[in-house]
Amino acid sequence: MNIFDTMKISASALKAQRIRLNVISSNLANIETTRTPEGGPYRKKNVVFQSTRLDFGDRLDQVTRKGVQGVRVPAIVESNRMPRRVFDPGHPDADSDGYVAKPDINPVEEMTDMMSATKAYEANANVIKAAKRMALKALEIGR
C-alpha cells in the first residue's frame, strides 16, 4: 500500500470537479447562444460522475479494496431539455412567428452547481493536505 494513494484518490476528485466547473462555465457562457456547429441553440451539458477503483485496486490490499474508490467523469451528456422559445422578432435567428429558440439554462441553477463544485474541490484539497501532513508525520518516527 502506498502512502500517496490517499492523495491520488483525492486528485481524481479534483480533476472531476474541475471538469464539472468547466462544463458549468461553458453552460453559463453559452446562455444566449442560438447558433452551434450542430445547428440550433446550445444545449446545456451535464457531467456524469462515476466511482472507479481501476486505478487503485491493484495497489490496495483485500480489505481496503472494498472501501476505496476514486471518481471519474466517464461522459459529458447533453441535457434533454427543450430550448425555450422567446418572442424576439428583431433577432436574426427568429422564426417566421418571431420566436427565437434559446438554450434552457437557469443561471441560478448553474451558480449553485458552481458553488457545489467549488466546495467539493476545497474539501478534496483539504484531504490532500491532511494526507500530506500524515505522510510527513510518519517521516518523524524515530527521529
Partner: protein
C-alpha cells in the same frame, strides 16, 4: 510475537494503529471524492473493536461473525473491515472523521516516538 521486552504490546499496537488509520484515511478520502457520485454509499473502515479485543488478550474470544475469522485474536491479524453505511455522503461529517482520524494517527506516531526516544535514552546509557 512477544519479542524483546522493549518491543512490547503497546509498541505493536501503535504500529497497527498507524497502519489502520492510514487505511481508514483512504476510505474517508474515497467517500469525499465520491460525494457527488450518484448512488455512492459512504464506507467506513472499522477496527477499533477487534483492536481492543486483541489488546485485552482476545485469544479466548469466539468469532461471532464470519468475517471475524480473519482476526486470529492477535494484533498482527487485524485488518479491519469495510462497512457500507446507508444514505448519501455527508461531506461535513466526512471532514470531521478525516480530522479525527488524522489527529489519532498523529497521536499514535507521537506515542511511538516517545517510546523510541525512551529506548534511545536507555541504549545511550542515559545520555
Amino acid at each position: 510475537m512477544a519479542g524483546p521486552v522493549f518491543f512490547d504490546t503497546s509498541m505493536q499496537m501503535l504500529r497497527k494503529v498507524i497502519e489502520l488509520r492510514q487505511k481508514s484515511q483512504q476510505v474517508i478520502a474515497s467517500n469525499i471524492a465520491n460525494a457527488d457520485t450518484p448512488g455512492y454509499q459512504p464506507r467506513r473502515l472499522e477496527f477499533e473493536k477487534s483492536l481492543a479485543r486483541a489488546v485485552s488478550g482476545g485469544m479466548n474470544q469466539k468469532a461471532t461473525r464470519p468475517e471475524h475469522l480473519s482476526t486470529d485474536g492477535t494484533l498482527t491479524g487485524i485488518t479491519g473491515e469495510v462497512v457500507t453505511e446507508k444514505g448519501a455522503v455527508n461531506v461535513d461529517q466526512e471532514m470531521i472523521k478525516l480530522s479525527e482520524n488524522q489527529i489519532l494517527y498523529e497521536a499514535a506516531v507521537q506515542m511511538l516516538n516517545k517510546k523510541l526516544a525512551l529506548l534511545k535514552y536507555v541504549t545511550q546509557d542515559g545520555r
